[in-house]
């Protein structure tokens, strides 16, 4: 089910539901369009207060550290990670050129998002430790439905953890 852009939002902002399509459409334009509506509604709702946030947990599989952060709706996950000092690289500064911002989403969140565009898929091809729910952090924008989700930052390198072996000098 798409309804990405906040069922809760629709019920609060009276003007918006009319504009919100109630059926699923598989295209990126709608994604962005909805997204703008969402932001628009947001701005009119909470004009002075902080933009609305949801709780997102980042689980870094490199060291199993976990951090719960307040994520602003509408920002992408790389931005969120950076403003919370979470170790996620973003070598090309979100210009869809590098794949260093690879993250793993929970199944249900991944399923609800639109498919990645071709360019993102091209980079995912090259991402280390690709999973079925992998995305690029700079291409996934926070929505209300992401409240409480855990985003995984994949292992950084090869077999280091396989047997816990670290070579050391004699």
């Amino acid at each position: 089910m798409l309804n990405l852009f906040g069922r809760r939002l629709c019920s609060k902002a009276a003007a918006v539901p009319l504009l919100m399509p109630r059926f699923r459409m598989n295209n990126m334009t709608l994604y962005r369009h909805n997204f703008m509506l969402n932001n628009l509604a947001m701005r009119s709702m909470c004009s002075k207060a902080d933009p609305e946030t949801v709780k997102i947990t980042f689980l870094n599989l490199r060291d199993n550290s976990e951090k719960v952060v307040d994520a602003k709706i509408g920002e992408h996950l790389l931005e969120i990670a950076h403003s919370n000092e979470i170790d996620l690289e973003g070598a090309c500064e979100a210009s869809l050129a590098c794949s260093t911002c690879h993250i793993i989403l929970p199944d249900e969140i991944y399923d609800d998002l639109e498919y990645p565009c071709d360019e993102e898929d091209d980079l995912l091809d090259l991402a280390y430790g690709l999973t079925l729910t992998s995305r690029l952090g700079c291409q996934v924008f926070v929505t209300k439905d992401m409240d409480g989700m855990t985003v995984k930052i994949p292992e950084a390198s090869r077999n280091f953890y396989v047997d816990g072996h670290v070579p050391k000098p004699h």
Partner: protein, 513 residues
């Protein structure tokens, strides 16, 4: 003696089992404990020396500097007066989004515990043993600076891809040298061919095929642009030894080419069909390996996007059609002899072996074709240059190592000597891959620190670099050059206008280099 690492060295040795905490033994109850243990916790002071300021050196430095208590200092050395390695001299000038990575590097160089020493060549100006003696650890991140040979007769007639790339990226003091060394006249070029079909080959194709207008946002030096964009390029061919499934470029690069408005891409129907053997189809079956998805997507993309050429006549017809520019992807051709500057003789190859291990073989050596081109470029990969005093594996052209710990000639780990990046795993892989293997090296170093295996050092720089007779370039110096490059660029609407001569650097930073 030069030899490869012993097989034994790669076997996990239980006796070495470390205290490293893994996801397998992760237990939420001990989360804090694990977190602390996985961060550098030593209160001793360490100074590390990183040789090479490309992505590998940079990511290792970045990780080391994250130590909690600021007990780690890092000196980064580079033979060139500027930092960034291949990001500045390799990554194509029109890939500015990739070059943005430099800003991330700059943040690291601004860290007070990190010092850049440019213009210092290890092995010449200073020896590795000196560094090993005075630093807590030395990390080799010096990349793969030499080009591989194909090993055929007449190879010297070919122009090296690296030379062109260095030239169009404005490598210091290289502009005139290149002009003097080439045996062709740039303005006469129409059809160009590249031996090899990796991302470097696609970079070359794109740079040659794009119009001046399409390159205006790049940081290609203006004098280069004037010469490079003088000829009207008609076609670029990328010639590879194996089939379509084994292409070395990534989908991202060919998609980018396919989107250029005036370009059409072509495949030979016969070569496409020949590519579809059982093993190759298996290689592209999703789930069969970690590469299958990428191979599958790339092949599907090529099949759909390229126009299929029926035969040679069709090819000639297209080649002479001046309505658009062409990119020809050629397969199953192995160069056997360079006849002259413009003609190369090829053997027709076939694939042999099981999926993922397919090799190309020449079954009938008498079957040969001669291809002609105004310019032949060779882009068959790189190799690491041996560094005096550092073990070297002449078979793989890398520094022998186990997870980044350098191995001596008899397969033992040399204390305090590490390797990362292209010098470690060979010249393959994008920056993301370099990032990941640097992280592996960093984790080994961290583990060695945690187990107190490394010596504490504080006055390393004083004892080594300050004794040099030559002047080095600090990050502050470099920042001045960068400032002027950016300013020059702004005036003409480019990201930067690079300085091409050491003399320019000297004038700006006020010291002789």
């Amino acid at each position: 003696m030069i030899r490869g690492p012993s097989a034994r060295a790669f076997l996990p040795n239980r006796a070495f089992c470390s205290q490293f905490y893994t996801s397998d033994n992760y237990n939420p109850k001990f989360k804090d404990d694990i977190r602390k243990k996985n961060q550098i916790r030593s209160d001793r002071e360490y100074t590390f020396c990183i040789i090479g300021s490309g992505p590998a050196g940079f990511y290792t430095a970045k990780s080391l500097l994250k130590s909690e208590n600021g007990s780690i200092k890092v000196d980064i050395l580079d033979s060139s007066p500027h930092p960034y390695g291949l990001v500045r001299n390799g990554v194509a000038p029109d890939h500015q989004s990739m070059k943005k990575i430099q800003y991330d590097y700059d943040e690291v160089f601004k860290n007070k515990n990190c010092q850049f020493y440019g213009n210092v060549t290890v092995g010449e100006d200073i020896q590795i043993l000196d560094l090993l003696r005075n630093y807590s650890g030395v990390i080799l991140a010096y990349g793969a600076g030499a080009e591989r040979d194909i090993g055929i007769e007449g190879e010297h007639h070919l122009t090296s891809a690296t030379d062109i790339i260095n030239w169009y990226n404005g490598k210091l003091d290289y502009f005139q040298e290149f002009q003097d060394s080439i045996n062709f006249d740039m303005k006469d070029l129409r059809d160009i061919s590249v031996i090899g079909n990796g991302n470097v080959a696609t970079d070359l194709a794109r740079i040659f095929l794009k119009t001046k207008e399409e390159l205006k946002d790049s940081d290609m030096p203006s004098p280069v642009m004037d010469i490079l964009k003088e000829p009207e390029i008609n076609s670029v061919s990328l010639v590879a030894r194996r089939g379509i499934y084994q292409s070395a470029f990534t989908t991202k690069e060919v998609r980018e080419l396919s989107k250029l408005p005036q370009i059409k891409m072509y495949l030979f129907k016969e070569e496409l069909e020949k590519s579809r053997n059982e093993a190759s189809l298996l290689e592209a079956t999703p789930g069969s390996s970690i590469y299958a998805r990428a191979i599958n997507r790339r092949t599907t993309f090529l099949e759909k996007t390229c126009i299929h050429l029926e035969n040679n006549d069709h090819y000639e017809e297209v080649l002479n059609d001046s309505s658009h520019k062409k990119l020809f992807l050629r397969y199953f051709m192995s160069p056997s002899k360079v006849l002259d500057q413009n003609s190369i003789e090829f053997n027709i190859t076939e694939l042999e072996g099981e999926a993922e291990k397919q090799r190309c073989v020449v079954k009938s050596p008498e079957e040969r074709v001669t291809l002609k081109s105004d310019l032949w470029l060779k882009s068959v990969g790189y190799k690491t240059i041996p560094m005096p005093g550092v073990p070297y594996d002449a078979d793989t052209f890398t520094v022998p190592n186990e997870m980044g710990c350098v191995l001596s000639d008899n397969g033992e780990i040399i204390k305090g000597l590490y390797v990362c990046g292209w010098a470690k795993r060979g010249p393959v892989g994008i920056i993301d891959a370099t990032l990941r293997d640097s992280f592996e090296t960093y984790r080994v170093i961290k583990n060695h620190i945690d187990q107190d295996l490394l010596d504490s050092r504080i006055d390393s720089t004083k004892k080594t670099l300050y004794n040099l007779e030559k002047s080095f370039v600090t990050y502050r110096d470099w920042a001045k050059v960068m400032y002027y490059e950016d300013e020059r660029g702004k005036k003409i609407g480019k990201p930067r206008e690079k300085y091409l001569w050491t003399e320019d650097y000297e004038n700006i930073i006020g010291k002789a280099l």
